[in-house]
Amino acid sequence: MARFALDRAVTAVLTLLGVLALVFGLVTAAPGDAAAVAARAAGNRAVAISPEALAAFRHLYGLDRPVAERLLTWGWRALRLDFGRSLVDGQPVTARVARALPATLALNAAALLVACLIGVPLGIAAARRPGGRLDRISGFVCDAFFATPTFVLGLVLLLVFSGWLRVTPLFADTESGVRGFLLPVTTLSLASLALVARFVRVCVAAALADPAALAGRARGERPSEEIRRAVRRSAASFAAMGAVLVPSLVSGSILVERVFSLPGAGGLLAEAVFARDLPTVLALTWCSAIVVVAASFAGDVVAAAFDPRIAREGAAAEPGAAA
């Protein structure tokens, strides 16, 4: 078990280092001169910027040094969560990200909570009678929500509840408080809820159909006990769901923040992209990669804790993972 966790941790760190190199390479190789863009954004557009000023700017931000050296210095700083200063306003990137992050984290955590609190019971209830009425109706509704683009759903909810019924604010600013979060959380959670419900349903239905369930029934287990054991047997599969849910939540929240004008990390990313603010884009990309890799690592370890076979076979099946 400990060996398995260590194995996975090494893979996670390797992956993160790879992400660092990939993103940095992507950004460095792409056209567009950050210095020129930043100088234009900071100063008067009409005034021509002298080449000396540009050179001084590049020197100030270390843009004139070799790529490999920049990657190493930047990577080392990124590991300590130091991303330098923003090219837009000269503030430390970490401070800007830290200001935007709480809203995004609250949104994602609330959506994840809602998705699990409703999705898991719904999935279990649907699994009790595969092909029954509840199973068919919830399956259809979940399919529909799963196919609905998050931001389209958000727009329609916004139109209905803020435009027609006027029960929620049109913009989720800091002033609108908890009421402003109502629609964004609903929007973001519905797609995940559909995924959770369908996934749990498949796992539990499979566990209810396997010989262990038949043995329990033969022993005279009550239906509630039978369900409880089936859920326990499929717990390892639930844990693996985290690795799927978290990336889709992160992607979704970027668009949901734009739909509801929520001032969070997604908005900051879009803003940084338009301003070609390299340090901020890299910092946010790095943050999202950390969250996703951490979720997938946690999911693997929890799954192995529930089902020791995963630790044994997983370690045996992927000897290259630790190399």
Binding site: L159, A272, R276
Partner: protein, 291 residues
């Protein structure tokens, strides 16, 4: 079996409506009449007689009516015409991105499965790195430093969407590598390229092909998301994602600008997923219906 076949047929027909609409849009929705008289007067007009980009400032934000069936937007452009023309962009981006993703995934998957060893480990690591970034984040980060365009968006989406195909093809190739018929072909002197193209890929590719509708669905979604953020194909191209972004700023008014592109996007993704479900025979087969 026949029920599954019928379901597949229904799903395929439903999905095929979208490429059909995309092809017909320039004919159905255009200002130039179908048949005009010698003096240029209209004899038979197109069913939707408005160009998607035709600005009419006298009729801004007209609500749905006989003249404009789905109303007009902020610039007086016909919403129905723009939604019909927007189909072209979404379908083209979806097809191009998913085809590229499949090609890239098949190439890397075959390489990893066939070569094994260090190459295999390198491809697996690359796969993990790409999966460690939420697709939209990676696409946005890439779009930030390239000029937004249809081609850039499709390429970036393909660069994030190849992982599933690669996994499936890699597994298939590994399984087939030591099959007797492959050994026989090798003993007969077949080259590596021939072994792969004639003996391995025809068996390793179908599972990945079956996931194509799903990849297409999520490619359409990502493209719409990019356009929504202003990073997709630049104006004035009619795009559902950008139409929705423009409509967002008009709320709480102008519901007719929100619902048509929203519904169109939903339907395209839904029918694509349905086609994927039908391919895998998931309907009615409770056991294999994994989310």
């Amino acid at each position: 079996m026949t029920a599954a076949r019928a379901a597949l047929r229904r799903a395929a027909i439903a999905f095929a409506m979208f490429p059909l609409i995309a092809l017909l849009a320039p004919v159905v929705a255009r200002e130039r009449p179908w048949i005009s008289g010698p003096g240029g007067e209209t004899i038979v007009s197109a069913p939707v007689p408005f160009d998607p980009d035709a600005v009419d400032l006298d009729r801004r934000l007209a609500s749905p009516g006989w003249r404009h069936l789905l109303g007009t937007d902020e610039l007086g452009r016909d919403v129905l015409s723009r939604v019909l023309h927007g189909t072209r962009l979404s379908v083209a981006a979806g097809l191009l991105a998913s085809a590229l993703a499949l090609g890239l995934g098949a190439a890397l998957g075959t390489l990893a499965g066939w070569a094994g060893g260090r190459t295999d480990r390198a491809v697996l690591l690359l796969l993990q790195i790409v999966q460690a970034l939420p697709a939209l984040v990676l696409v946005i980060a890439g779009a930030a430093f390239l000029k937004p365009s249809f081609l850039v968006a499709s390429l970036l989406i393909a660069l994030t969407g190849w992982t599933d195909a690669a996994r499936l093809v890699r597994a298939g190739t590994q399984r087939l590598r030591n099959e007797a018929f492959v050994d026989a072909a090798r003993a007969a002197g077949a080259s590596n390229a021939r072994l792969l193209l004639v003996h391995v890929l025809p068996h390793a590719l179908p599972p990945a092909l079956a996931t194509l509708p799903y990849v297409l669905g999520s490619a359409v979604l990502t493209e719409a998301g990019l356009s929504f953020l202003g990073l997709g194909a630049p104006p004035p191209a009619a795009s559902w994602g950008r139409a929705l972004a423009e409509a967002r700023d008009l709320l709480p008014g102008a519901w007719w600008c929100v619902l048509p592109p929203a519904f169109a996007l939903f339907l395209l993704v839904w029918t694509a997923r349905r086609l994927g479900d039908a391919f895998l025979g998931r309907r009615g087969d409770v056991q294999s219906r994994l989310a």
